[in-house]
């Protein structure tokens, strides 16, 4: 019984990886040919997740729908700038959603992120030493996530999706800030270890 369950979860895991690789293919079609069917497939996958992320961050239904529209519009407009050397499609779309949310709440500005992004676009094509890395990237990030202990996952879920600050997380989980920080470091360290192992 236990083995059977594990098999199912491994299948899910593999499906998720195949899907992530498929998204890389779809975004390339949108970027190079403005392929609307490919974009629709991406929309159907990501739009409901972006909306969920916005709602978890505390906006109302209407704002969440509007933000989702903004984010998917940006995905369409910037699709040709997507580079698999920098990360998975999911991570790239996450950053677009993050930036849209930052600009809405105005505690910071997404300009510094955009500046770095612009620099990277300017550098694209000049270094391709990471071409090998992208092949394994989807596997690595998915595997790291699967192995993440629940306490670390809770912390990063609150930071990345619920848009809570370090001190808000500490308060919500009744933990010292130092513990929140060390769980963030551990979660990131797990992922970094996996990604560097294939280099």
């Amino acid at each position: 019984m236990r083995t059977a369950l594990k098999l199912v979860s491994n299948n899910d895991h593999n499906t998720a990886i195949e899907l992530a690789k498929h998204h890389r293919h779809l975004i390339a079609l949108v970027g190079s040919k403005q392929d609307r069917a490919a974009f629709q497939a991406l929309f159907e996958h990501f739009a409901p997740r972006i909306k969920a992320m916005m709602l978890k961050g505390g906006v109302n239904m209407m704002q969440a729908e509007d933000l989702m529209q903004d984010v998917m519009m940006t995905v369409w407009r910037k699709s040709s700038q997507f580079s698999p050397d920098r990360g998975t499609v999911g991570a790239w779309i996450f950053t677009i959603a993050r930036n849209a949310r930052i600009d809405l709440f105005r505690k910071a500005s997404s300009r510094p992120y955009d500046d770095v992004y612009e620099m990277e676009i300017a550098d694209d094509g000049q270094s391709s030493d990471d071409a090998m890395l992208q092949v394994e990237r989807e596997e690595c990030v998915s595997a790291a996530m699967k192995e993440l202990p629940q306490d670390q996952r809770d912390v990063i879920q609150l930071a990345f999706i619920a848009d809570m600050s370090q001190s808000e997380i500490a308060k919500k989980l009744s933990l010292p800030i130092g513990t929140v920080k060390s769980r963030m470091r551990l979660a990131y360290g797990k992922l970094k270890g996996k990604l560097e192992a294939v280099r």
Partner: protein, 229 residues
């Protein structure tokens, strides 16, 4: 550029999640602009966000959401038909020329492109300052210090989060040598005594602080209202 002092992993995660306020977002982005290693690391941290987005429980979007979006895109394409920016006109990535100047790009809209053009206000012997006015009203401040060769920066304990990014020159403290591009991403309560390295010109560094720094000695305490750091 061979850098030795990088961002703390917890800072990378907070930056990737969007948890830093404007002062800290700017200083972290400026280091990332100078550091290929942290550039890569920040993308790794963003994968955490990507994975959590993938795992999010879907919330149904409005029924005509996709049609509405494509309608908006068609309208934009129509409006841009004569412009060079239209997505349909440029099927391939547009590449911008290399970024000019020695000021990291995330700082250029505050300072211009050249460190040499920054205007300084003298705040103490051997120490000048340039305050950066941020767009957002945040509880942190961002400023540049220009500290003469051989000069010690007054010893201070940190009242909150503080980061220092070296733009030119170098200083040494008990954590080692900090040269151009290096960032001191120190934990709270850490004390250090940076001394600017002789022979390399003044040390110009960008500082982000959460709260006013507390100086330790009586002289420094007297200086603090003057220096304002």
């Amino acid at each position: 550029m061979k850098l030795t002092h990088h961002l703390d992993d917890a800072t990378l995660v907070r930056y990737a999640a969007g948890d830093l306020d404007e002062a800290f977002t700017v200083i972290v982005a400026s280091h990332i602009a100078m550091c290929p290693q942290c550039q890569k690391a920040s993308h790794n941290a963003e994968e955490l966000g990507g994975q959590l987005l993938e795992a999010a429980e879907e919330v149904a979007v409005e029924q005509d959401a996709f049609a509405k979006l494509m309608g908006a895109i068609d309208n934009q394409n129509k409006a841009n038909f004569d412009g060079v920016d239209a997505q349909n006109v440029h099927p391939f990535p547009k590449r911008r020329a290399k970024i000019a100047g020695d000021v990291p790009l995330p700082l250029q809209r505050f300072l211009g492109a050249q460190v040499a053009d920054i205007e300084w206000k003298k705040v103490a012997p051997g120490i000048s300052k340039h305050d950066i006015v941020l767009d957002k009203d945040v509880p942190s401040s961002l400023y540049l210090l220009n500290i003469a060769e051989g000069q010690a920066v007054p010893e201070h304990g940190h009242g909150g989060m503080e980061m220092t990014l070296i733009l030119s020159g170098a200083y040494n403290d008990r954590f080692g040598r900090f040269g151009p591009g290096d960032i001191a991403d120190l934990d709270e309560h850490v004390e250090h005594q940076p001394i600017v390295e002789p022979g390399g010109g003044p040390c110009i560094c960008l500082v982000a602080t959460e709260k006013p720094t507390k100086f330790k000695g009586i002289i420094e305490r007297l200086l603090q209202p003057i220096i304002g750091i």
